[in-house]
């Protein structure tokens, strides 16, 4: 019997199963594959029975969006659960962590309402405990209230009994894998003073910044290169995101050109002030390093790099 069976298959051409299915007798499955709908947004192939893209949820068959330019906010780092399932994206400037109304919302009963904050500025991430009940721990060490500690890529941060891993910006963007992350750590230990953060800055900031825009309380700092910077509160719409509720979504433009700095209010609600004088909207004005630039309730100065 088995020989007969083998013979039949050997005869081949008549009953080549794959051929029959694909060409002469399209079965139910073949039809489905033939009519797969590719999502115009994320390019995922979807079976025709689906109304919405199985990946991004786009309504299949509706008009393909013409605008594909989505300005994603610059990636400033993130906190990730150890299983990698939940990701909390961090923004430039201040990120609050807590149980209520926080940027990083952790609804766990060992997390305080206002637990901690992470400030990302100038390529560094600083964490501070805000007087939480159960404390904030970085790599197992408890933070004192008011103490600031720098986060390094891959380090473990605990808020109460919730543990998250910090992923720094540049390593996320590059194709760095787990091994490289840990080697960066061992480097930090062996080299001592040359910390991982300086390694990070080298890969992140190729050129040396011309100057920095720094808030007077030093909670925010942004590197400046030649070019135009949109400044405002709204993520995604600005190159420099100011976490100040009194700043408008789009507040001010800053132009850096040949060592000169020009600022222009783009119609903000509360105005842009230079040394206490309110600018006319849409009128550019040159500013000098050291001038006080008020955006919302935050006062910035430009500091020229040595």
């Amino acid at each position: 019997m088995s020989e007969v069976g083998a013979d039949k298959t050997a005869i081949g051409t008549f009953n080549d199963e794959s051929k029959t299915q694909l060409v002469s007798q399209p079965g139910a499955e073949a039809t489905q594959y033939a009519a797969n709908i590719e999502c115009p947004v994320c390019n995922t192939p979807n079976p025709p029975s689906e109304t919405y893209c199985t990946d991004c949820g786009f309504l299949l068959g509706s008009e393909a969006p013409s605008m594909f330019e989505v300005t994603k906010p610059p990636f400033a780092g993130m906190l990730v659960t150890p299983d990698g399932i939940r990701e909390f994206t961090l923004k430039l400037g201040e990120n609050t962590i807590g149980r209520e109304n926080a940027d990083v919302l952790l609804t766990h009963n060992t997390v305080s309402r206002k637990h901690a904050k992470i400030t990302i500025a100038g390529g560094r991430a600083l964490i501070e405990d805000l007087g939480s009940t159960n404390g904030t721990f970085v790599s197992g060490r408890k933070l004192n209230v008011g103490e600031q500690m720098e986060l390094t890529d891959g380090c473990e941060v605990e808020f109460g009994s919730v543990m998250l891993k910090y992923k720094a910006a540049d390593l996320q963007n590059s194709t760095c894998n787990e091994d490289e992350v840990s080697s960066a750590h061992s480097e930090e230990i062996s080299i001592g003073e040359e910390t991982a953060s300086s390694v990070l800055e080298d890969s992140q900031v190729k050129a040396k910044p011309i100057a920095r825009l720094v808030s007077k309380n030093r909670s925010m700092a942004f590197d400046l290169f030649d070019g135009k910077y949109a400044i405002g509160r709204r993520q995604g719409a600005n190159d420099i995101v100011v976490s100040d509720p009194y700043a408008s979504g789009r507040h001010t433009d800053l132009l850096v050109e040949e060592g000169m700095f020009t600022i222009k209010d783009v119609g903000s609600t509360n105005g842009t002030l230079v040394n206490g004088v309110k600018l006319e909207p849409q009128v550019a004005r040159q500013v000098q390093p050291g001038d006080e630039i008020t955006i919302g309730q935050t006062v910035f100065v430009i500091e020229v790099a040595e």
Binding site: V41, C42, P48, S49, T51, Y52, C53, D55, C56, G57, F58, L59, L60, G61, S62, E63, A64, P65, S66, M67, F68, V70, T71, K72, P73, T81, I85, R86, E87, L105, T107, H108, R234, Q235, G236, A237
Partner: protein, 449 residues
């Protein structure tokens, strides 16, 4: 039947766009169904589902936080036989129960026995210095014999609440057959004084029992019990909490709760939120979700006939090209008392992403806004109760906070809960402690009557 079906349609159905001749909306109304639209299939189920987003629009250019209201509604009609009960009475027989409380409790248990039928299973556990089985789980056939067991109860000394819950749950679990509504009815008048007295361990045990499908109703009697503990037990296990002020009310509350149990139309209810790309669940109000790959899941309390349970989810929607997107699919998985099977119903949450900011103002859904305000009131109430317990706020502050909450609830048609708050306000004015009343006020669940 038609009533039920109409309810399932979302008030503002974004599915109306036609795709290749298939109108998803028509499919929902009609009978012939494919794939995941099983919720509309022929047999009528015990519950229906509504999902409504805070806004039908979101800005495509930036991240948006969006609330979604999920309501499950127990069918209003009595259909078929009720689910049989597998019930354990967990009774406090500590020293303070001496006298009338003990007598009324025995009488209350007698009523329970009278109301049960031979298809139901009953067990009785009592606790004092330690827990003991008064009657192991058995069908309610010989009612007289069961009452004799109850009448042999005597008062002891201390209160091993933890032991009582553990033993009661093991009695419920010992009845392996599926299809029962598994319940424990815990009755106590005091703080735990024997066995494991730790709040977190007791609540942790309750959560474990809930995961095994056992719901505990907590009845607190008198002024000495720990209302925070009892409310937490009920909340974590999806059961009810009652505060019984006087011994002669004990039988009435037992009867009321038993009738509630008998009206269960859906049990072991889980809500799963499946997220599309660029979507995250920030929180599920009042719940601790377990997260999976692009999914979050919470358990909900058993649903009674005619009851509505509201849950608010907060999503974070990332920027994307313009267009209509299903941002999430909400799935309810539960044991249906009408069909006798585990059923799944689901609904899509569809949002249109636009760059036109004027549309955002038009797309606001007032219903979700209203529920958000109620959720805010619920949190305020919790804070007020906590403030009263820890004496962080004084009597006048408490009264003014409560009055604000009461007014808000009246404005939103939550008259039952507003009446409870009024009762608490009067208790405070008379110099009594109102925490035991206040802690039981539950704003996410709306009974039919």
């Amino acid at each position: 039947m038609n009533n039920d079906r109409t309810q399932m349609l979302p008030p503002d159905d974004p599915n109306r766009t036609r795709i290749g001749g298939i109108d998803p909306n028509a499919t929902q109304i009609g009978g012939a169904l494919a794939g995941d639209r099983t919720q509309m299939s022929g047999s009528v189920k015990g519950i229906s589902l509504e999902c409504v987003a805070e806004n039908t629009y979101a800005l495509a250019t930036q991240s948006t936080r969006m609330h979604v209201l999920v309501r499950i509604i127990g069918s209003g009609m009595a259909m078929g036989a009720r689910m049989p009960l597998n019930l354990c009475l967990i009774l406090d027989r500590s020293g303070s129960m001496e006298g009338p409380p003990m007598e009324y409790m025995k009488r209350a248990c007698g009523y329970v026995v009278d109301l049960l039928e031979p298809t139901d299973v009953l067990s009785i556990v009592a606790f004092a210095d330690q827990a003991e089985i008064i009657m192991p789980a058995r069908r309610v056939v010989n009612k007289q014999l069961i009452k004799e067991h109850i009448n042999r109860l005597e008062v002891g000394n201390t209160t091993d609440l933890y032991g009582g819950i553990a033993m009661g749950a093991s009695q419920v679990a010992s009845v392996a057959s599926p299809g029962y509504v598994n319940r424990a009815l815990l009755f106590t008048d005091g703080e735990p004084t024997a066995g494991n007295k730790d709040f977190q361990s007791i609540v942790g045990q309750v959560v474990e029992q809930k995961s095994r499908g056992i719901t505990i109703t907590a009845l607190g009697f008198g002024s000495e019990y720990n209302e925070e503990l009892l409310a937490a037990i009920a909340k974590r296990s999806g059961g009810n909490y009652y505060y019984i002020t006087r011994p002669e009310l004990i039988p009435e509350i037992f009867r009321k709760e038993l009738e509630t149990m008998m009206m269960t139309v859906a049990r072991n209810i889980r809500m799963r939120i499946q997220m599309s790309r660029w979507v995250q669940v920030r929180q599920v109000y009042g719940k601790l979700p377990s997260f999976g790959y692009r999914s979050a899941e919470v358990t909900l309390a058993d649903l009674e006939r005619g009851e509505t349970q509201s849950t608010i989810i907060e999503l974070e929607l990332g920027p994307r090209p313009n267009g209509k997107y299903r941002v999430a699919k909400v799935e309810i998985i539960y044991d249906d008392s009408t069909t006798g099977r585990t059923e799944t119903i689901n609904q899509d949450v569809v949002i249109e992403f636009t760059t036109d900011a004027t549309l955002i103002a038009e797309g606001i859904n007032p219903l979700v806004q209203r529920e958000l305000e109620v959720a805010g009131a619920s949190r305020n109430l919790e804070r007020t109760v906590m403030g009263m317990r820890t004496q962080m706020i004084d009597r006048d502050q408490a009264l003014s906070e409560l009055e604000k909450t009461r007014q808000m609830l009246i404005d939103h048609g939550k008259t039952l809960q507003a009446a409870d708050i009024e009762r608490a306000i009067n208790e405070i004015k008379q110099g009594a402690a109102a925490e035991k009343t206040l802690i039981g006020i539950n704003l996410d669940r709306e009974k039919s009557k």
